[in-house]
């Protein structure tokens, strides 16, 4: 049942993405409104389905929060991206960013639903995952990742806008975007949200590892990649306050940071081996 809703949500997100892109092109407030409504509808359906999946796992007698394998984490990741984006859109009235952020959520859901290597069934937890740390660790990591997804989307927009401004551009698609300063501020804001969350995610992961295996840090590939991501964003934060590193260079760092996030999340499991759970998909 829940997987069925999730596949519908995938299409709803795709529709929202298309409408956001249409808004880029036509810039009619109605279009933006429509996009937001579609997105919110999809998100609410997804929230329901996550709750349902959680409930179903208890029905099956192997109850656990739906965050324990690749499928569930992809779904949760998309959910947090949309949640964060909706908050930002509401607070900053920036529907224009939708076209750059919704694709991440759509791709996450599409990958989860379509890829044959992603197992959709609810599976029991192996002993190492039976811990209260699981929820706090996963939730903080994914909220952080979602913030970084937003910052990546905005960074791309920032670079395009900055080029446009430097050409002294007028009119056209890019005119609709907020000024590069506003975008720069947004990149910073989302990383300022993501960085502490990633930090908490790494710390809860370390605490959990210490509790389960007696070592808070074992340089497991996944741990190491999360630290690599952390280093990159720390570099970003300092780049932003350094002459000669501000602006486009810092934005590029934030995009690289998100590439590292994706690698931490998916690449490590698909290409490298380690302690983390969704290795086998």
């Amino acid at each position: 049942m829940n997987t069925y809703i999730f596949s519908i949500v995938t299409f709803v997100y795709m529709a929202a993405m298309v409408v956001y892109v249409a808004y880029l092109a036509f810039r009619r407030p109605v279009v933006a409104r429509l996009a937001t409504i579609i997105l919110l509808g999809g998100w609410l359906a997804q929230t329901t389905a996550i709750g349902l999946r959680w409930y179903e796992s208890y029905e099956m007698g192997i109850g656990h929060a739906p965050m324990s394998n690749l499928y569930e984490s992809l779904v949760f990741f998309s959910w947090t991206i949309i949640l964060l984006y909706l908050i930002i859109e509401y607070r900053y009235k920036l529907s224009i960013l939708g076209a750059f952020v919704t694709p991440f959520a759509f791709l996450g859901m599409a990958y989860a639903s379509i890829s044959p290597s992603v197992n959709e069934t609810i599976q029991p937890l192996v002993p190492a995952l039976q811990s209260n740390w699981l929820i706090s660790h996963v939730v903080t990591c994914f909220l952080g990742y979602a913030a970084f997804a937003v910052s990546c989307g905005v960074s791309i927009t920032y670079i395009l806008k900055k080029r446009y401004e430097e050409r002294g551009g007028k009119g056209g698609l890019m005119a609709a975007f907020p000024s590069s300063e506003v975008l720069d501020e947004l990149v910073y804001k989302s990383i300022a949200i993501g960085f502490p969350l990633l930090t908490i995610g790494i710390v809860t992961g370390a605490a959990w590892a210490n509790y389960a295996w007696g070592t808070y840090w074992s340089w497991d590939p996944k741990e190491t990649w999360s630290l690599i991501t952390w280093f990159i964003y720390a570099a970003f934060l300092h780049a932003r306050i350094t002459r000669g590193w501000r602006g486009v260079k810092a934005a590029v760092l934030s995009i690289i940071g998100f590439v590292a996030v994706i690698f931490t999340y998916l690449g490590v499991n698909l290409l490298l081996s380690g302690l983390h759970s969704y290795g086998g998909g």
């Binding site: 002993p127 370390a206 007696g214 350094t242």
Partner: protein, 467 residues
């Protein structure tokens, strides 16, 4: 508080060295370098045995990788050097910036002068009847109502007469949040170093029903390390899901001090036991001998049947002069025929050699068919025994690491989500209209300016209403 310019440029080698080590450029370089080199260790498997490496690499590649430290790279001298440089960078940088930050922290600006006014982004101007300002104390309490904070009042002689200065601020200490984050990095490093010097990691296997008083470290020369107490494994159990995936491993452990039981705990994965500075984690398990029930059938002696309970590995003497029997080992699935026990039989008769044979749990008739001797053995029951594999750890640095992590999280919260907000209100006699005062309200926040701008407007609105 962006990159502060040094007040006076230090000259010479020491000066440029100090400038190099305290620069933000070095920070960015080190952080990116750390990110890049860390990748190596996620691609090349770390800390494996030589034989394992030789499966992927040839001998000379292996030797090269080992020489440059790529096989244990997070402990290699050059990786530690980069971390050490980061620590030096952090200390040098704080050394340079902190005094200034502390100065501003401990010397709040209470006077709104021309420079401050000029630089301000949030300014509001108005006028007030002079008699309303006759009592600065009451004016201040009104200000406190408008914007709660620690208000300060200063009376000063200015160019156009007596100036009244009010100043207030909130979240001044949030400026120190960044330093708290930086300090936390050093604290975490310190915890890690203490752990690597004084910490110890090892393992111990305890068969069910037995006690140990020491454990072994990993590595080539495994030497026992005393625990200072005894640890008993009363019972070990493993449960499986229907799919065959493991569900739970657990061990009932009892700690004995001076021979008396003091602590009892069932440990599982994620639920360790801590005692005497050591922590014991459920890490592995295995089968360990066990007990078998067999029947010895004699073809002579009137077809007599002798039921026996044998401890694996312990010879047992039979009654009369019938010799000895021993269960040498148990196999779970010997020759794909299920559980089997290897029996050693010594008939105890001169000139008859001891002999060995397998008895199968699922094929009791197997032995009967064997007619070489005038007895045979039926395997009736297997009572397997497990040992529990525990990881043993002592890390006196771990609490320092957690302290550092806590500091970092709090510091990040303060640095990113709290801001230092300041308001100044200055009243000066209006040179054009006697009996009226000119008011200037100035606001400043180091973070989240848009939301402070709203706050500022609300304050200005209220002051305007004073008339």
């Amino acid at each position: 508080m962006t990159e502060a310019k040094p007040k006076k440029k230090q000259k010479g080698f020491a000066g440029s060295l100090a400038a190099f080590f305290s620069s933000l450029k070095l920070t960015i370089f080190l952080l990116i370098t750390l990110a890049l080199v860390s990748i190596i260790g996620t691609i090349i498997p770390q800390n494996q045995l030589r034989e394992q490496y030789l499966r992927y690499y040839d001998e000379s590649t292996y030797a090269t990788l080992k020489a440059v430290g790529f096989l244990d790279m997070y402990h290699s001298w050059w990786f530690v050097l980069i971390l050490a440089l980061l620590a030096i960078n952090l200390i040098a940088c704080s050394w340079k910036h902190f005094p200034r930050a502390w100065y501003y922290f401990s010397h709040p600006t209470r006077i709104l002068d021309a420079t401050l006014e000029k630089a301000a982004k949030l300014v509001w101007r108005g006028t007030l009847a002079a008699d309303k300002a006759a009592d600065p104390e009451s004016l201040m309490s009104r200000l406190e109502e408008v914007w709660p904070g620690s208000w300060h009042f200063t009376r000063r002689d200015g160019d156009s007469g007596v100036e009244l200065h009010f100043a207030a601020e909130r979240g001044r200490w949030s400026r120190l949040g960044v330093y708290f984050v930086h300090l936390s990095v050093l604290v975490i490093f310190a915890g890690g170093i203490i752990g690597s010097i004084y910490g110890i990691k090892g393992f111990v296997n305890i068969p069910e029903g037995e006690r140990v008083s020491s454990f072994y470290t990993y590595g080539d020369q495994q030497k026992p390390i005393p625990l200072g107490f005894e640890l008993e494994c009363r019972d070990f159990s493993v449960e499986f899901y229907e799919s065959g995936r493991p569900k739970e491993y657990s061990s009932d452990l009892v700690v004995y001090e001076n021979g008396k039981p003091v602590v009892q705990k069932t440990i599982k994965v994620n639920h360790p036991l801590s005692h005497g500075g050591f922590t014991f984690y459920q890490a592995s398990y295995g089968a360990y001998g066990g007990r078998v029930a067999v029947e010895l059938h004699f073809r002579d002696r009137g077809g007599m049947v002798l039921p026996l309970q044998l401890e694996v590995g312990q010879p047992q003497r039979l009654p009369e002069d019938w010799g000895w029997i021993e269960a040498l080992k148990v196999e779970k699935n010997y020759m794909r025929m299920g559980p089997a026990v290897l029996i050693l039989r010594d008939p105890g008769k001169p000139g008859v050699k001891p002999y060995q044979f397998w008895a199968f749990l699922r094929y009791p008739e197997f032995g009967r068919a064997n007619n070489k001797t005038n007895e045979f053995c039926v395997f009736k029951q297997l009572e397997e025994r497990y040992y529990t594999g525990l990881q043993v750890n002592r890390d006196p640095g771990v609490w320092i690491v957690w302290l550092g992590c806590l500091m970092m999280i709090l510091g990040l919260y303060v640095a990113f989500f709290m801001s230092h907000k300041r308001l100044w209100l200055r009243l000066t006699p209006d040179p054009d209209k006697p009996g009226r005062m000119l008011m200037v309200l100035v606001g400043n926040a180091n973070k989240n300016q848009p939301s402070f701008a709203h706050e500022f407007e609300a304050v200005a609105e209220k002051i305007k209403a004073w008339k």
